[in-house]
Structures are given as C-alpha cells and as structure tokens.
C-alpha cells in the first residue's frame, strides 16, 4: 500500500503553508535556468524532478550573506544589536537527494566547537521534501559517495513523480508526516527513481592516494586550468567556508558572514604578504583533501554528495568529478607499480 498526492493537492499544501506565514522554497525558472527561490505564489514553483539547478538548497540554511549583529555608534557609546534568530517555519520542496544529503553532513560542523545558532535555527525550523531523481547526467556521481537517486538522507519526505502527474509520498521523519498527514490517498501505485549514475572510480582508493601524496606534482598539473574563482564552492551544497566583514559606515553598520572559497588567492593570504597556499595546485589539493580526507577524519562523512554542481558550473570544465577522474588514474598507476 502506497500513499499518493496529486499535483493539485501538493500545490494546495504549499499554498496553505505560504498563507499561514511559512517560507516556502521551491524550484523556479528565471529565464531558461532553474533556481531554488523563496516563492510567494505556488504557481511560481516548477514541481518536477530536475538534475540541474544553478544554486543548491544550501543558501536557505547557510545564506550567501547573513547579518550577525548591527551596531550604532554615538560619541564613545557603541550599541550592539544581535541579529534575530530565524523563527518562521520553512518548507524546502523539490530538493534533489544530493542536496538534502548535505544537511546531515553539515550538522556536526555547525555544532562543533561553536554552536552556530544561525544554521541550527534554520535546520530546526525546516522541513525538506526531496524529489527522487528521474534522470541523471554525466556530472552526477552520487553512487561514488554513498548516495543514490532515491536516497532519503537529510530528507523529511521523498516524493516519486508518477506518470499521471501525481506523486508517491514516502515520509521519513515526523516533520515529513506532519506536512503530508491528511493530504494523501492510499493507492497501489508506486514510483521509482532512475538508475544510479555510473562511476568508474573508487573514492576510497583515491583518498588513500591523497593521504600519501601531499607533495605530488600531479596537484599542480591538474590545476593549471583552474582560474581560482568561487563558483565551484558557492554552488556546492557542502562547501561552507565564510568570511566575516563589517559593512556600513563608522557610525552605523553591521557585521556580516559571507560565503568564501578556498580557491581564491586571498583566502590564505597573510597580512605579511606570505601565502601558505601559494599556487592553484596547493589550493585544489586543499579542496580535495578537505572533502575526502580531512572532513571524513573529523566528522566521519565525505564533504561531497556527488551532485556534480561544481563541474556543471565551472567555466574551465574542471570541478570535483574531473579531478577525481584524474586522481584515479594516478592512484591506479601507483597501485600497479
């Protein structure tokens, strides 16, 4: 026995949430490209499974820029006002499994030495509804990092699109149940995801090679084409580095937290002028080490869901999958020697 929701019922569920004051985030089309956005009208949402988004759902948990506190200075008196906590209900609908999977990966990071109430409050207030994938493309490699087109990791509910336009609903958590309770009908129809994307590299083997080859010239060689921007990190659902800056004037302003990327020269540039990661090779090595060695060692999870957003967005056809494929070649060679 399965549970089905029609497209109309799904829209109504979301519309009711919007009118009750909840923030609903859904796939939308802006021009020809798809973006997750907060919607004011349910008809803005494109409610069908999709592989390619220009952004990930990350920004609704860890925004592009976020105020930490604001300040007003009067004479020698400075007043600090903490930014309010996120306190509306948030429904994120239409996420891909590889988007949702980033959330449990990031949870321990934002609750480690510092309890990040910004991330935590958004997490607590949010319900994530995943659409099981119906297609994959050549950039996808969730299978290599423990994911799947029907993975429920990080999801509160997963929806399988059916041929007749309705969805099979499988609730994963109490939040998911609460959202869909009374909205579905019993049925004998069941949905299925697409076949898992194929991969011909072994991430564990590559991680072992990375551990032993910090000084390998391969890092420079594969990185010549990288121009050191922030695109791959900013579209990545798991990359989480940020910079803290003050904006405003001397008398009035705010301290904000903005996305940052380890691929830029400035990221590690010291005030003395020294840069411990002096070349793009060193910066790409950092990226791959953080994802496949450092983060797994510290938090027991790879910092990559295999979504392929990085390589889809890279202007020079690089990104994590091409990097893994290059490293797999050398890892296999060194194994055979």
């Amino acid at each position: 026995m399965s549970h089905i929701i029609t497209l109309e019922q799904l829209k109504k569920t979301l519309a009711d949430k919007i009118s009750s004051g909840a923030q609903v985030v859904a796939p939308t089309l802006r021009g020809e490209l798809a973006f997750f956005q907060k919607i004011d009208d349910v008809n803005q949402a494109v409610l069908e499974p999709r592989v390619r988004f220009q952004n990930s759902i990350k920004e609704f948990f860890f925004p592009r820029h976020e105020t930490i506190f604001s300040f007003v200075r009067q004479g020698s008196d400075v007043q600090l006002v903490d930014a309010p906590e996120f306190d509306v209900e948030q429904i994120v609908v239409g996420a891909r499994p590889c988007d949702a999977a980033s959330l449990p990966i990031l949870d321990p990071l934002f609750a480690w030495d510092y309890q990040d109430r910004f991330f935590q409050s958004r997490r607590a207030k949010s319900t994530v509804v995943v659409f099981a994938c119906k297609t994959s493309d050549a950039h996808c490699f969730c299978t290599a990092v423990g994911g799947a087109p029907d993975s429920t990791n990080g999801a509160d509910a997963i929806l399988f699109a059916l041929d007749d336009g309705s969805f099979e609903v499988r609730c994963v958590t109490d939040k998911g149940k609460a959202l869909f309770s009374g909205k579905t009908q019993e049925s004998d129809k069941t949905g299925a995801a697409c076949a898992p994307p194929s991969v011909d590299f072994d991430v564990e083997k590559i991680a072992t090679w990375i551990r032993g080859n910090f000084a390998s010239p391969v890092w420079e060689e594969i990185s010549y084409r990288c121009v050191g921007c922030g695109a791959c990190a900013f579209v990545c659902p798991t990359c989480h580095c940020f910079d803290i800056v003050d904006e405003g004037s001397y008398s009035k302003g705010k301290r904000v937290k903005n996305w940052d990327s380890c691929q830029t020269v400035l990221f590690t540039l010291h005030a003395s002028g020294h840069n411990p990661r002096a070349t793009q090779g060193a910066r790409q090595r950092q990226r791959m080490m953080h994802k496949f060695v450092i983060y797994p060692d510290k938090f027991n999870a790879k910092l990559c869901t295999g979504c392929g957003a990085c390589s889809r967005s890279c202007g020079v056809s690089f990104g994590v999958r091409p990097a893994l494929e290059e490293l797999a070649k050398v890892a296999n060679q060194s194994e055979n020697n």
Binding site: R52, H139, V227, E247, L266, G315
Partner: protein, 298 residues
C-alpha cells in the same frame, strides 16, 4: 585544422620556440572542452579545435602558475586575439614573449545548463565580422572562408545577436531597464568567475577584494551585487573585447556580455574606438584627444 594546429605546436615545442602551449582539450566531464597545457611535444594530440572552444585562453597568460612554465604559445580565436592585444597595449605582457596562434573560427556554439552544445551560435558570433584572428604569429585555417563569413555577417552585424538584445534594452523605459538588471544582478552569488575568466581583469588585488577598508560591499546583497557588477563594467569600459568569457562562465547565467557591450558600443559610437584592434594603440580611457566629443560635459 586540428592536425595542422597539433603539428604547428609540436614543432614549436620541439624547436623550443616555446615552453608551453595553451590550447583547448577535452578535459571535462563527458569530454567537455577546457584549457589544456602541453609542455611535451608528444602530448599535442590532447589538443582540439572545434565549436565548443568557448573559453578565452588569454586569461591564463597573466596567471602566476602559467608564467612559471616559461614562454607560452596560445591558441586564440579572433575575439580572444584582441584580448592579447589589449594585454600588450596595457603593458601586462610583451608581444614578443608570447607566440600567438590564431585559428580561423566559424562561430562557437552556446552550451545548455548541463554544458552540452545547443546548435545555436553565441550572440557575439552572430554579429562577428572578424573570423580570422589578427596580430598573430601564425594563422591556421582558411582565410578566404573567414573573409566570406565576415562579409556575410557585415550587413546585419549591428542588429543581430547581442545587438538585437541591446536594442531591446535601449527601447525600455529607464524603470524597466533598471528592473531588468535588478532581476539579473539579484542572481549574482559573488563567485567572481566572471572576473577570473576575463583576460582583462588581471589586477592582483581587485577593488572588490580590498578589505582595509572595504571599498564595495562584499555581500551578495542586491546593493553589493549592483556595486560589483557596475564596478566591473566600468573598469572594462573601452577595454572589453566582447569575447563573452565572463557570461559563459557565470553560474547564475547573468547577461554580463550585454552589460559590457553597452559600454563597448558607446566607445565605438562616441570615439570610433574598438578595443584590441591594433598593437601599440593607446587605451581609450587613458588618452585625451582634442577631437574627443565633450557633449556629456554639461
């Protein structure tokens, strides 16, 4: 053409005329084309030339990692070649320090969101009237065919592709135009892929990166995004060669090329200046001529 290109580069590397060749190769997912660096003459078969060679490779000429490899040969389309000229004219590189290989181009195809080619030409190519690269050391491809394409495009060059979009933009009211750019800029995530892929954004420390004090908001708020995109456009006024590398790299799909075209078009209309045309030409913004129009001074 591809074989000719490979042979030429093999010879340059064998004879040690250059130390590294910057060309295109199938390096990405599913054979997607991206920059490829060849130092060994035996590796020239990694190089390709086709209508997916979207990137402007000149951006690599000023990167520290690439400079370390020695004297470069670089593969350029006509529009990319103009960027090499600007780099020389702005004293970023010396012309004799780089071996420029022009490839005759018959247009580059746009890519869809997954990076697959669409069959449609890029806007800049629809209005291109220079299919054979100029100011090069070696030109590969059929010059006569290039000339024929130039002549075919010439009559409509200023009304198709980008120019068609520009005309639409100009026909809008100021309010509509502002709304158009507001929607575009609100998508910006401040990844600076536009800057990093642009051969003419070569500053070691971009104003957007100044933080003692901050010059423009680094936040990707609407205010910060307007500041960033307008700032970049202004810094490219009279300099942008219209290669479209910025827009092609922008993960948000912002029509940056249209923004730059607005200024390039003003430079051409007002001062008869086309960036990157001639070696040795003085930069438009850096020179004054008594014949310059001054109508804008009121």
């Amino acid at each position: 053409m591809e074989t000719e290109l490979r042979n030429a580069i093999r010879k340059l590397l064998e004879e040690k005329t250059v130390d590294v060749a910057i060309g295109y190769g199938r390096v990405g997912v599913n054979g997607a084309v991206g920059a490829t660096f060849v130092t060994n003459p035996d590796d020239v078969d990694r190089l390709v030339w086709n209508n997916e060679c979207r990137q402007n490779l000149a951006t690599h000429l000023t990167r520290a990692e690439i400079k370390k490899l020695g004297k470069p040969a670089i593969v350029v389309k006509a529009c990319d070649a103009r960027a090499v000229v600007v780099l020389c004219n702005e004293a970023q590189i010396k012309r004799e320090d780089v071996y420029v290989i022009g490839v005759v181009c018959d247009g580059i195809e746009t890519a869809d969101a997954a990076g697959n080619k669409t069959g449609a030409l890029m806007g800049k190519c629809l209005s291109c009237v220079e299919h054979a690269a100029k100011n090069v050391d070696l030109l590969i491809g059929d010059e006569a065919a290039a000339k024929a394409l130039d002549e075919k495009n010439a009559p409509n060059a200023k009304s198709v592709g980008h120019y068609e979009k520009l005309a639409k933009l100009r026909a809008m009211s100021q309010k509509e135009r502002f709304e158009y750019w507001r929607e575009q800029f609100s998508k910006c995530i401040r990844c600076h892929a536009c800057r990093q892929n642009c051969p003419l954004c070569y500053c070691n420390r971009c104003v957007a990166d100044k933080n003692r004090p901050t010059r423009i908001d680094t936040s990707s708020s609407l205010k910060g995004n307007f500041a960033w995109n307008i700032l970049r456009a202004f810094h490219l006024a009279g300099r942008c060669v219209g290669c479209g590398a910025c827009a092609a790299a922008c993960p948000a799909g912002i029509e940056l090329d249209l923004l730059n075209l607005t200024l390039a078009n003003a430079a051409e209309d007002q001062f008869g200046y086309v960036s990157g045309k001639e070696l040795g030409e003085l930069p438009l913004i850096g020179t004054y001529s008594p014949t310059d129009k001054e109508e804008f001074i009121r």
